[in-house]
């Protein structure tokens, strides 16, 4: 079990999610390290399209063609209604650093089953802002999503599809514990709950409240006050 502190339900960044939904199960895990994740809201509509069509994001996507506005509008409407549904098969979450949107994480089932009842899901993640994309902080939204996926939703495995040319994403995923199970132009990478817990143990401090960190000075562990 990951020992990162869960968000107090009353202060969850997603507000009140309907009982039994994937969002409700995820919500205690969706904030930490100065970041939070929340469902998409109307104000995200244009921003997400801009990010999704930016070369830095689009060229690393499995579907790398530009998304036209009507297609985006239809997709956005579906995502907005899914978040509150017991039968949601996917969940799009806006990552914020403080109050500033910085990227999108998503979870999606592979066989059409509700995310709230699934044992396996595919995760996608992109950052829309350069200062977080190029920083160690890039791990924080991924950690929050995966903590929620394994500890909140109880998934047994998370999968990712990554272009073989996207070496940065492959290394990023490997650091989180993913292993490649299918090669080719598009890699299939999988992450079990146990591999994630082991690989991320040293990273969880990035999502802990600052006051809970400890450091060793000359070999002696001292709790930071």
């Amino acid at each position: 079990m990951i020992t990162t502190e869960k968000t107090d339900r009353a202060t969850s960044p997603v507000g009140t999610a309907p009982a039994g939904t994937a969002l409700q199960k995820l919500s205690p895990w969706l904030s930490g390290g100065g970041f939070s994740l929340r469902p998409l809201i109307e104000e995200d509509r244009d921003l997400v399209l801009t990010w999704r069509n930016s070369p830095a994001v689009r060229l690393q996507m499995v579907q790398s063609e530009e998304i036209d506005r009507p297609t985006h509008e239809r997709w956005f409407e579906r995502q907005a209604t899914q978040a509150q549904s017991l039968h949601a098969q996917s969940l799009q979450l806006m990552a914020q650093k403080g109050d500033r949107p910085v990227g999108v994480c998503n979870l999606m089932t592979l066989q059409g089953e509700p995310l709230a009842e699934a044992s396996t899901a595919e995760m996608g993640y992109y950052l829309g802002v350069d200062d977080v994309r190029g920083s160690l902080l890039a791990f924080v939204p991924a950690l929050l999503t995966l903590n929620g996926a394994f500890e909140g939703l109880g998934l047994q495995q998370v999968q990712a599809r990554v272009k073989a040319s996207n070496l940065a994403a492959i290394r990023f995923n490997q650091t989180l514990g993913y292993t490649t199970v299918e090669s080719g132009p598009l890699l299939k990478m999988v992450l079990s709950a146990s591999d994630y817990r082991q690989a991320s143990a040293g990273l969880q401090r990035l999502v802990r409240p600052a006051g809970n960190q400890a450091r060793a000075v000359n070999g002696n562990m001292k709790t930071k006050l």
């Binding site: 390290g33 940065a168 450091r215």
Partner: protein
């Protein structure tokens, strides 16, 4: 804890996967494609393992150059010889 200057060069070289002659005091985060977020994390872990320390998150994020890494490690009791 006393540490030779050269060890910092070695840990940077290994973590970032770059030739040792690129590791200068001025080498800065994101100045090379190899020093990205994942390499930065690997560097942090290599430094922690070698020196037996656990860096605070703010120090991990603040480690933006070789010179900065050196000064941060000094806060954790590392003396360069």
């Amino acid at each position: 804890m006393k540490a030779e200057n050269q060890i910092l060069n070695t840990l940077f070289t290994q973590s970032l996967g770059i030739p040792s002659d690129l590791v200068t005091e001025d080498l800065a985060y994101n100045s090379l494609p190899q020093w990205d977020s994942t390499a930065h994390l690997q560097l942090v872990m290599a430094l922690e393992n070698h020196f037996g320390i656990t860096l605070e998150t703010e120090d991990m994020l603040d480690m933006s150059s070789v010179a900065k890494a050196r000064s941060i490690l000094e806060k954790y009791g590392v003396e360069w010889v």
